[in-house]
């Protein structure tokens, strides 16, 4: 990685040599920087990137997010993003997660805190996946009485009223307290 400071609009390569990667764009002739940072040239794949020290509040494909379920629809859930790769974000952007292929009555309900993996940005929407063991519900409460719940395989049981509900639970369910996030 070059130590030279790069500013938006600076020429970093010719389009014949390299493709524009992260934080770079081509103007039809040259590859130019789009942010302040340091040049990071990938000579194997012929891609010119710029490394910027700040992370934007929009997740990229492959990022793990934690968020609050905002809406539950017949074949997808909408989640408001609160953390990206463990770092808090205030942008409150939403992603959608398809639940069509999961054979379960409830995947997650509104106000549950879930962890998801971002798979793509498609048609102006951020798409996420929930079908891995570490993905799913991290924190929820009893939908009947609002008390604490304990996990039972792929369901939860209220410790007060013994109500049992289905969820797609994460392997990390119950490991963290999200009371503040819920407020």
């Amino acid at each position: 990685m070059s130590d030279i400071a790069i500013f938006p609009g600076d020429k970093i390569a010719a389009i014949e040599e390299y493709e524009a990667g992260y934080n770079a764009f081509d103007d039809g002739d040259m590859v130019r920087a789009a942010t302040v940072g340091k040049m990071d040239i990938d000579k194997d794949n012929r891609v010119a990137n710029i490394k910027h020290p700040k992370m934007l509040s929009i997740p990229k494909a492959g990022d793990i997010i934690i968020g609050t379920v905002a809406a539950v629809m017949s074949s997808m859930i909408a989640v408001t993003i609160d953390y990206i790769n463990g770092k808090p974000t205030t942008s409150k952007v939403e992603c959608v997660c398809s639940t069509r292929n999961i054979r379960r009555k409830n995947i997650a309900l509104v106000n549950d805190i879930v962890t998801l993996k971002i798979i793509s940005h498609l048609n102006g929407t951020i798409h996420a996946a929930i079908d891995e063991p570490h993905l799913g519900v991290l924190f929820t409460k009893c939908r009947k009485c609002g008390n604490k719940v304990v996990p039972m395989r792929d369901a939860i049981k209220c410790i007060e009223c013994a109500w049992i509900d289905e969820r797609k639970l994460s392997t990390n369910f119950g490991n963290s307290e999200f009371v503040k996030l819920r407020e």
Partner: protein, 244 residues
């Protein structure tokens, strides 16, 4: 032609202006990137006696939702003058002039910012004029551009802005408040130096075609001076000792 009658000598026989500058000399400019902890990006500019603070938030969720665009992110700019920024108290409610300058700055920044990667989101730019002395729109535009770069918003180029004008039949660089009030013409210019594109050009006054060309050239030269200072501000923050 144009300007008001005034006792003030705007340009003396030696080519020295009312504040002691030469015709092609800008005012003292100081730009600092960062400084606001809670904003995603920020900048502070002192452009002569103008003092302006800019905060940038985003990309973030759009409220109300119907304002969002499914194809691209949107840029929202609020230019606001503090009640104490001018000699007589200014009503803090947005005036017609502030609404117009907000629009003008937004349209000057739009060719530079690349929001197509962030559909359904908004980038908010808040400009607070703490002290005004003529040429606030250029100073605000320059600072907003640094604040956007500080926030990490992808940009095609930084937008540097500087005004040129005409005083005593002479084309001058960086019009101050007295020259703006009593001069013959004022032309704020926003310019992307790497792409060599003008993003803002307004003209208040009357110029001949030759004067117009010279005014644009002078303004662009001023923008290049501002651009070097914008780069220095970002360099100091990210690669020097100016980090916050």
């Amino acid at each position: 032609m144009g300007g008001r009658e005034s006792e003030l000598v705007l340009l003396d026989e030696n080519g020295i202006r009312c504040d002691g500058r030469k015709v092609d000399e800008p005012r003292r400019i100081m730009i600092k990137a960062g400084g606001l902890k809670n904003a995603d990006g920020s900048a502070y500019i002192e452009f002569g006696d103008n003092k302006i603070l800019v905060g940038v938030f985003g990309p973030r969720d759009v409220h109300p939702k119907h304002m969002s665009n499914t194809d691209t992110g949107i840029l929202r700019v609020r230019y606001h003058m503090e009640p104490f920024s001018v000699t007589e108290r200014k009503n803090p409610a947005p005036s017609r002039r502030e609404i117009e300058i907000s629009k003008v700055i937004k349209e000057a920044l739009e060719p530079a910012v690349m929001l197509d990667k962030f559909p359904r989101t908004a980038v908010d730019v808040f400009i607070e004029v703490l002290q005004a002395d003529g040429g606030t729109r250029c100073a605000a535009l320059s600072a907003a551009s640094v604040a956007l770069a500080d926030a990490g918003i992808p940009m095609r180029d930084l937008v540097a802005a500087c005004a040129a004008g005409k005083v005593a039949d002479t084309v001058i660089l960086d019009v101050n408040n007295e020259e703006d009030q009593a001069g013959q013409a004022d032309m704020p210019i926003g310019y992307m130096p790497n792409l060599e594109k003008i993003t803002l050009l307004q003209l208040d006054g009357v110029l001949t075609p030759e004067e117009y060309k010279k005014c644009v050239e002078t303004g662009i030269n001023g923008c290049k001076i501002v651009y070097d200072l914008q780069k220095k501000a970002l360099h100091d923050k990210y690669f020097g000792n100016g980090g916050d």
